[in-house]
């Protein structure tokens, strides 16, 4: 089974290739796949009717999800229809479409994949697996209905079908999960075995849950099978190409709901909610469908509403839960598949040959093609239930079953009502069958004969074969009877399906002649009244138009969807205001209000376990005052750099706080970061105007003040509660010992970063690399800009030259002096001078500071060496990769500030991307290497060895990781300098050149 399923999907996947090579004849290749599967199916008959054929593959055992397939009599009968009709429809497509039709490849693939999905659906023995195939058919039907993408009708009805059936499918999923929970198994076969026991137990709560689950599952079935009130999608789906309608909307997909009812009926038809839903909706659907079919002007819509009507009929019969009804139901299902598929294919031929399906325009088609007419008449007669055809045999059995059921004592008064409704529905069926034949084939007075191109036999073959089968089935129903009997026996007295207590002894048989029975009488009534309706069709039509218009379900659906859209627009308009301020206010207000509300609700007092001054570091108060001043200064400052400086005050204050709180690593890092950040700010913002205007004033300012105060206060309170809520011993109490013994380091914080929690740090340096790349991509828009170029070829004094002459005489004199002294790098007053910096000469003289250059020259190398020291000492003393990297970055910053962008290029000739990449790679390798050597990822090893000068050395391998961190941080700083520094320099120079010209 799984092999068959996979082959169907595999051929479907290859379909576009076939179409590319063979054109429309590729449909024959596709048809061969279900045809071969059909042959396989025939050979499975003994297995399916013996032990049952089961295949099982574990899927997600933890969730009890299995790929379990099971072929039993019901599946076998369904497969006959799915594979047989599937093969015929695909073959028919080869003549229906033209080579030049668009998207044939994907269409063929979807149609065949649909056959595969239906096959999977009817053979799945697991509820969830069945649901997967169920949804697969929904999606494929959406694509198939929407084949004519350029037509709004196709798109719209495809979407309607998708929405309705998906909504039903999701509802069903809930029901299926409830069923699986209630019975403790997701196997369909297991569920059916256990359900009767559950029903018999009369446990109130379980019973109620079961009833709810049954209704939810049935919602899936009635949406899929287009029952009232969800029937409207099916006529809409007639926008699909007619072969699709023949397959999906007659034989296969809409039968999925019927199949589900038939599958669950043996176990669940005894549930209290089962029969009312099935019978009410089934009967309503049968009557609504039949009534509306009589009004249609499009022969395809006559069939569509006829299908709706028949689906209601089928649901009632299949769901009744007696052996006779089960037999009759499957008999009717097969008969309906045969005649309705044939009729749709006939409609497709008529539309194809005449270019219309309008009853008012078709005339004399029977004369043009008698063969087509005969096929259609046979199929329609089967639909009307005329002997000796399949439809008659099936309907006879249905009437027999319902006469017996309605006659039982417990079923008055609803039994007879249902029966009467059924007969009325059959009368309507008779009438619209006749209307279809009349509309499609009759010669109408006043309408000229419709031009009709002769059809080839290959086009007519598929419907003809189906019509022949209708006759064979009608004349010789014994084989069909024997296929269905084992299923019907599930409902016999004493069998598990007899939970409802119907207790019929035998299902009877599908036969052409039962003798003179009440059922035959009902059939006679059907024919008689039906003929009257046909005879008086004008009067009927007038009567129908004279009735007040009942609101149609598709209009209601459109209104619901329209209202939903309106609500969506309204909600979006109210919430998505496009204002960051608004979003932030909402988020922050909720973040304050909800936890505070919960705290108030619980009525807990604010924890009093606090101290105002840490005895270990009373100085914190003083620093705190500075930070507060900085924060308020930042708020009040209206000059850009002033505000930045105030924020830096808080940052440096933080560094002092860290120092006072016994966190030397933090203090060091914060101090370095604050400095680099300050430089970055100044470099990035030098092009922006110095003023910082407050643009969010007025009542917004009030909101900002209130929200800021509330948030700050709330955070203090939350922190108190959070601290008070600690109940467990902190895990970090073990860290010092772990760091020393396993991490091989004394600096617990550093070992935590590079060893104990190395994964975190690895994630963090990835973020750093990402942010650095982001900075570069924001600044270097035009080019990658990673080659700054060496200083050798740069004209002396060319970088950052002041283009405009200063106006004041003093400034002009100063500039002239600076230029004179800086003009020649090597000689000042005839004395040679060593350049302090490699590229210092490239700077314009007025930009240079000899003092700065000298200091840079003196401290640069010291700083680099110190950064390496910090890196390696970090394992035991304050420092580490972060601090080291920042120190090295600071050294580069100084070089840049003193000597300009070419000095930066001379200082470090690697591109920032390369440094970042090396760092990340090194960190990753240091994590993976222990794993490849058989340890855990990021496991560190401690190595002892002796070096000539250093003596005994203890080396921890996590140092490599720290070097990676070091490199990533340098890369980040370098990106900042290259972007905010060098690139903005270049842009400023270009601008001033343009301005000078």
């Amino acid at each position: 089974m799984i092999l068959v399923l996979c082959s169907l999907f595999a051929v479907a996947a290859l379909a576009p290739v076939f179409f590319a090579g063979m054109g429309r004849n590729a449909f024959y290749v596709l048809a061969a796949a279900p045809a071969a599967a059909f042959v396989w199916l025939i050979f499975q008959y003994p297995a399916a009717y013996g032990q049952g054929l089961t295949e099982h593959v574990d899927w997600i055992p933890e969730l009890q999800l299995d790929l379990t397939f099971r072929m039993d009599p019901l599946s076998w009968v369904m497969c006959l229809l799915v594979l047989g009709v599937g093969a015929l429809v695909l073959a028919y497509c080869a003549r229906y479409f033209k080579d030049k039709d668009a998207n044939l490849g994907s269409f063929g693939a979807q149609l065949l994949a649909f056959a595969g999905a239906m096959f999977g659906l009817v053979t799945a023995d697991d509820l969830i697996l069945m649901f997967v195939f169920w949804e697969l058919t929904t999606i494929l039907s959406y694509l198939l209905i929407g084949y004519a993408r350029a037509r709004i009708s196709a798109r719209r009805s495809a979407l309607t079908a998708l929405i309705v059936t998906t909504a039903g499918g999701l509802t069903m999923l809930i029901g299926l999960i409830m069923l699986a929970q209630l019975t403790g198994t997701s196997r369909v076969s297991g569920l059916l075995e256990r359900a009767p026991a559950l029903l018999a137990a009369h446990d109130g709560a379980a019973m109620a849950a079961l009833n709810v689950a049954v209704v939810l599952v049935l919602v899936g079935a009635i949406t899929k099978s287009a029952l009232v009130p969800f029937h409207f999608w099916l006529p809409g789906a007639m926008a699909a190409p007619t072969p699709v309608s023949a397959y999906l909307h007659a034989a296969a997909m809409v039968k999925a709901g019927i199949y589900l009812v038939a599958r669950l009926a043996p176990g669940l038809s005894g549930a209290d909610s089962w029969l009312p839903v099935i019978l009410t909706l089934g009967l309503a659907t049968m009557l609504v469908g039949g009534y509306r079919a009589l009004r249609q002007k499009d022969i395809k819509l006559i069939l569509a509403f006829g299908t709706v009507s028949q689906l209601g009929f089928l649901t009632m019969v299949v769901g009744l839960g007696t052996p006779e009804a089960a037999l009759a139901g499957l008999g009717l299902l097969l008969a309906h598949g045969l005649f309705k598929a044939a009729l749709f294919l006939v409609v497709g031929i008529i539309d194809h040959q005449t270019g219309t399906r309008d009853v008012g325009k078709l005339s004399g088609v029977f004369r043009s093609s008698r063969a087509l007419g005969v096929v259609a008449v046979v199929a329609a007669a089967s639909m009307a239930g005329i002997p000796p055809l399949a439809g008659f045999v099936a309907k006879e059995s249905v009437f027999t079953a319902f006469v017996e059921w309605a006659g039982e004592a417990g079923h008055a008064p609803w039994g007879p009502v249902v029966l009467a409704g059924m007969v009325l529905g059959s009368i309507l069926t008779f009438a619209y069958s006749a209307r279809f034949i009349w509309g499609a084939f009759a010669m109408k007075p006043g309408v000229p004969p419709t031009p009709f191109k002769p059809i080839r036999f290959s086009f007519l073959a598929a419907p003809a074969l189906l019509a022949v089968l209708s006759v064979v089935y009608g004349v010789w129903p014994a084989p069909v009877d024997s296929w269905i009997q084992p299923y019907a026996a599930l409902f016999a007295a004493g069998a598990p399906g007899d939970a409802g207590g119907h207790g019929g002894t035998s299902a009877g048989h599908l036969e052409l002649w039962h003798g003179v029975t009440p059922a035959l009488g009902l059939t006679a009534v059907t024919f008689l009244v039906g003929s009257l309706l046909v005879w008086g069709r004008d009067a009927v039509s007038r009567f129908q138009s004279s009735l007040p218009k009942i609101p149609e379900a598709d209009k209601a659906y459109q209104n619901v969807i329209g209202a939903l859209d309106d609500v969506a627009v309204w909600v979006t308009g109210r919430t998505q205001r496009g204002s960051l301020f608004f979003y932030l206010v909402v988020i922050l207000a909720v973040a304050v209000a909800v936890p505070v509300g919960v705290l108030l609700w619980n009525g807990k007092p604010i924890p009093s376990k606090l101290y105002w001054i840490d005895p270990g570091s009373p100085l914190q108060w003083l620093i705190g005052l500075g930070i507060v001043v900085g924060a308020f200064g930042a708020v009040k400052a209206n000059k850009r750099f002033m505000a930045v400086l105030f924020v830096s005050v808080t940052g440096y204050g933080m560094a002092l706080i860290f120092a006072l709180q016994s966190a030397p690593d933090l203090a060091l890092t914060q101090m370095l970061v604050e400095t680099v950040a300050l430089v970055a700010f100044v470099l990035a913002m030098r092009r922006l105007p110095p003023e910082l205007r407050d643009r969010t004033g007025g009542r917004y300012r009030v909101i900002r003040v209130v929200l800021g105060l509330a948030f700050g206060a709330a955070m203090v309170v939350f922190a108190l509660f959070a601290a008070d809520a600690r109940v467990a011993t902190p895990i970090s109490l073990d860290f010092p010992k772990l760091a020393y013994e396993q991490g091989g380091g004394l600096n617990v914080v550093n070992v935590t970063l590079v060893d104990l929690r190395a994964w975190d740090t690895f994630g963090e340096i990835s973020v750093l690399a990402l942010a650095a790349t982001g900075v570069a991509s924001l600044i270097f828009v035009r080019s990658i800009g990673h080659s700054l170029g060496r200083s050798a070829g740069v004209e002396t004094g060319s970088v950052g030259r002041v283009a405009k002459q200063p106006t004041g005489s003093l400034a002009a004199a100063a500039l002239a002096t600076a230029r004179r002294f800086g003009a020649s790098p090597s000689t000042v007053g005839g004395v040679r001078r060593n350049p302090w910096l490699v590229a210092g000469r490239t700077l314009a003289p007025e930009r240079r500071s000899i003092l700065f250059e000298v200091v840079t020259r003196l401290i640069f190398h010291t700083m680099v060496v110190f950064s390496v020291y910090l890196l390696f000492a970090g394992h035991n003393l304050p420092g580490g990769g972060f601090a080291g990297g920042l120190m090295a970055g600071m050294a580069l910053t100084i070089r840049y500030l003193a000597g300009g962008r070419f000095e930066l290029a001379e200082a470090l000739r690697m591109s920032p991307g390369l440094v970042l990449g090396l760092g990340l790679a090194l960190a990753a390798v240091s994590g993976l290497a222990p794993f490849l050597l058989g340890g855990n990822v990021f496991q560190a090893a401690i190595l002892h060895f002796t070096l000539p000068v250093f003596g005994d050395v203890k080396f921890v391998t996590s140092t490599f990781f720290d070097i990676g961190v070091y490199l990533v941080v340098i890369g980040l700083v370098l990106d900042v300098l290259r972007g905010f520094g060098a690139q903005i320099d270049v842009e400023l120079e270009e601008e001033s050149e343009v301005a000078a010209r």
């Binding site: 037509r151 709004i152 719209r156 007619t242 194809h352 040959q353 270019g355 309008d358 419709t450 031009p451 459109q558 969807i561 627009v569 496009g578 204002s579 301020f581 206010v585 924890p607 376990k609 101290y611 001054i613 840490d614 507060v628 930042a634 860290f658 016994s662 030397p664 933090l666 890092t669 950040a677 700010f681 913002m685 969010t696 900002r704 800021g708 700050g712 955070m715 203090v716 922190a719 600690r726 109940v727 467990a728 902190p730 109490l733 010092p736 004394l746 617990v748 914080v749 935590t752 963090e764 973020v767 924001l778 600044i779 828009v781 304050p878 972060f882 941080v969 980040l972 905010f980 903005i984």
Partner: protein, 200 residues
């Protein structure tokens, strides 16, 4: 060793934190992108303080010496978290600076502008008109003789005899006023709009 319940909180640090949060939020709610960035930096500092408070009393710096009770150290775990946070905050600040610079280059502005697309949605009275437009019944998949090969002329002639009915039967596939809103086949307006866009 029984678990110690409740951590004594350092009010000094918490008060500084509260002020930083308040000022940070105030700046965050500003339109100027620079102020928003500064606000974010203050919030980062405040959050670092929050984490620091969970380390308890200042105690000893977490540099291991044998024989010291682990409780005597300042908690190393919050410190490690803060160290990470400091450097990440710097990266975020740098990224924000990049955004500020780019915004300035592009628009000579340092503000967070409102999203005009969102505004447009908010002012939309109802949903897509195409979805609600009535469509004529189509009674064929093969309009205008495209169905059967080489049969087109005769078919059109046949329909021309029957004027009134022909009007109903010749629905061009998308004969709905769609305002260029959809349709795989682009309507003329859609095409001309595209040309305009190219010129602009």
């Amino acid at each position: 060793m029984s678990a110690e319940t409740g951590l004594s909180a350092n009010m000094t640090l918490l008060l500084i934190m509260g002020v930083l949060y308040a000022c940070g939020i105030y700046l965050l709610l500003e339109r100027s992108l620079t102020r928003v960035t500064l606000g974010l930096m203050l919030l980062a500092n405040a959050t670092n303080l929050l984490i620091l408070v969970t380390g308890g009393y200042a105690g000893l710096a977490p540099l291991f010496t044998k024989g010291t009770d682990p409780k005597d150290y300042n908690d190393p775990l919050p410190q490690a978290l803060i160290l990470t946070s400091i450097v990440i905050s710097f990266a975020v600040t740098a990224f924000m600076l990049g955004i500020i610079y780019r915004t300035w280059i592009l628009g000579r502005q340092d503000v967070i502008a409102d999203d005009t697309e969102d505004r447009k949605v908010a002012n939309t009275p109802s949903f897509d008109a195409e979805d609600d437009a009535p469509i004529p019944d189509e009674t064929t998949e093969f309009p205008l003789g495209s169905g059967a090969d080489g049969r087109g002329d005769a078919h059109d002639g046949g329909m021309a005899d029957d004027g009134a009915a022909a009007a109903a039967v010749v629905p061009s596939s998308d004969a709905v006023p769609s305002k260029g809103a959809g349709g795989v086949v682009a309507p003329p307006e859609g095409g001309s709009r595209g040309v305009d866009g190219g010129r602009a």
